[in-house]
Symmetry: C2
DNA sequence: GGCAATCAGTTTCATTTGAAACTAATATAA
DNA sequence: TTATATTAGTTTCAAATGAAACTGATTGCC
């Protein structure tokens, strides 16, 4: 009598982690294409610019924290942005290990071009949802974001 | 009078594409760690196994379609799974280009171990949501999934 | 039949990513 | 002070990924 216990079915298309991963990858890819074609900007570069555009004069470590990037990714992104003249770096006077990063004038200019595009993209996504659905989505995401996923795995 | 037009603010933490990407990456990383530590299985390998576990005897192209993977990723994942003896491949009698893939007995065994873990993980995520929130999340995801993202970018 | 176009799957090569080691500066503490 | 540990950021090296070229099989069309 093989397989007496029925195995609960796992259908990938309905599996939440799979759905989130594929949806978010599709969104990220289209956005990445938009940014890279028009502005020669990778996703980590764009994240760094977005953070520095809103909060200038912070260190690489702070950029990493705010942008959910690791410090290696930030180091590389900032190096490229500096090479393109979009970010300027100074040394913190009180701690010469720390850098003080900010968009250059050229970086600012690009930032101001991208922000409306990014917001329009988001609005196009949200347009399909009712106000109530948007509120629920926000609440759900906040709840999932606040979970300690590492401890979820036993 | 510089900057007469106020720039609409873009706060990354509230930006939907950013939220989806970081949340889904965190979930994927914890799951990947779970699978790889216990079962020596990467995400693409796990996806292939999940698909073949539910729908055996399909071709690599079908695996790719169902698993939202490109054919290169499937080719590599299947090669590794075959090397580990978890997947068996035959040649389709009617078309000798096409392969017919299925889990081996060893693959089946692992599959049956993983499915309950995966479902438990999902359940732990969903446990925090009310029935109504779950239904709304499902509806929202379906709506976003059905969007033609490529055309969203003008 | 025979020849071009298409399709399934693989391989190659360049780029990206991630983990760990590393450098330089600062903090801690004997 | 002077060792020791910690922190900020970079570099290195191996593995993962993606795009394009490739191989072998099939189809469509003359």
């Amino acid at each position: 009598m093989p397989n007496a216990e029925a195995l609960a079915a796992l259908r990938l298309p309905g599996f939440l982690p799979y759905r989130l991963a594929t949806l978010s990858n599709r969104i990220s890819r289209t956005i990445a294409r938009l940014y890279s074609e028009r502005f020669d900007l990778s996703i980590p570069e764009w994240r760094c610019m977005a953070i520095l555009g809103e909060t200038p004069d912070i260190s690489a470590t702070e950029v990493a924290e705010r942008g959910a990037l690791d410090k290696v990714a930030v180091s590389r992104a900032i190096a490229r942005l500096r090479a393109k003249g979009r970010v300027e770096r100074h040394i913190a006077p009180d701690d010469r290990r720390r850098s003080v990063l900010a968009l250059s004038a050229a970086g600012e200019k690009i930032y101001r071009e991208i922000v409306p595009l990014a917001l329009a993209y988001e609005e196009a996504l949200l347009k399909r949802l009712s106000d109530e659905e948007r509120a629920t989505l926000d609440r759900i995401l906040r709840r999932l974001e606040s979970m300690d996923l590492e401890k979820l795995v036993e």
